[in-house]
Subunit: 183 residues, 2 copies
């Protein structure tokens, strides 16, 4: 077990409506000093939903992604609200973004997006036994729902409008576990 | 083809040594107005390296991740420096973090980490024909190198110290392409 660096100092150095940046002064076990900055996320983290409509088909959504200034295909996702259960958050996002609820939801794993400089964790939730159920979210326009076959992940990787590593990792993981009879 | 929202206004609302936060005022094609914030990364983006030492084994590194305040296993990665070629950046990071250079480097794909609120793209680079070659980076302590079999990705997902979605997606992608004879 490696000995973690000691945090000598920690302070907020920038803050906006959504983002908070924290500066850390660290002392490593070998005595080396280093300064880091990291983004501190909300307490609850986020959920990424893998909505399975049959044993080879998931629902993707096409939505405007302001970071990339482009429409991107990805799995449904969103923040867990204060005191919200992660599975309930996954079902809410699913209803808001795809117009489906799920009778069965199960936690698969947790992903970090950039562990070096973000505290953020995303819980990956598999959703099955879907039924039509829409909930109004805060989306500024209608979201397009795109069914995609897990046997065609390769073709997804080739698309310029599919880039998100969390979605891709979750799709591979789901496909492998289904193949191995583990789901 | 969806019509992208018009950017009505864009300004920097927070800035630290490393991070810059931009606020966007958008008008969607349907007339809806929305405010977003996003993190603006450096121009060059980043590289993630898949160092292959035989047809089933990659090199992972174990490094302190300040975002998670934990030691994490992941693929080697780092920023592309100004005017640096992405393949050269990948080879430099590989030398700094694993003590190996690569005779063959090839671009596999590009990943976004959070396209909704980060501009950031990561180029995934496969590195083969490795040879011992160390370069001194700015790491505060020695980095442990951990060979890992692609046939054991499942076991990696189960580990608490392996969470990074980009690394996982890149490992699945590499394994699939090797299996299919596409690499």
């Amino acid at each position: 077990m490696l000995e973690k660096p000691r945090i000598l100092d920690r302070k907020t150095v920038a803050q906006s409506r959504i983002f908070r940046v924290e500066a850390l002064e660290l002392e490593f076990a070998n005595g080396a000093l280093a300064s880091y900055e990291r983004l501190v996320g909300g307490e609850g983290g986020a959920v990424l939903v893998v909505p399975l409509i049959d044993t080879d088909t998931v629902l993707l959504i096409r939505e405007y992604a302001a970071g990339r200034d482009a429409y991107e295909l990805a799995l449904p996702k969103g923040r867990i609200e204060a005191n919200e259960d992660p599975l309930a958050a996954a079902n809410r996002e699913l209803m808001e973004e795809t117009g489906h609820g799920a009778r069965h939801l199960v936690h698969l794993t947790d992903f970090s997006v950039a562990p070096g400089y973000m505290t953020h964790l995303t819980q990956v939730i598999l959703a099955r036994d879907l039924y039509p159920q829409r909930m109004q979210g805060d989306e500024p326009e209608e979201i397009e729902v795109v069914p995609w076959a897990l046997s065609r992940i390769d073709a997804l990787v080739e698309r310029e409008d599919f880039t998100e590593a969390r979605s891709l990792a979750a799709l591979y993981l789901t496909r492998d576990r289904l193949r191995d009879g583990r789901l």
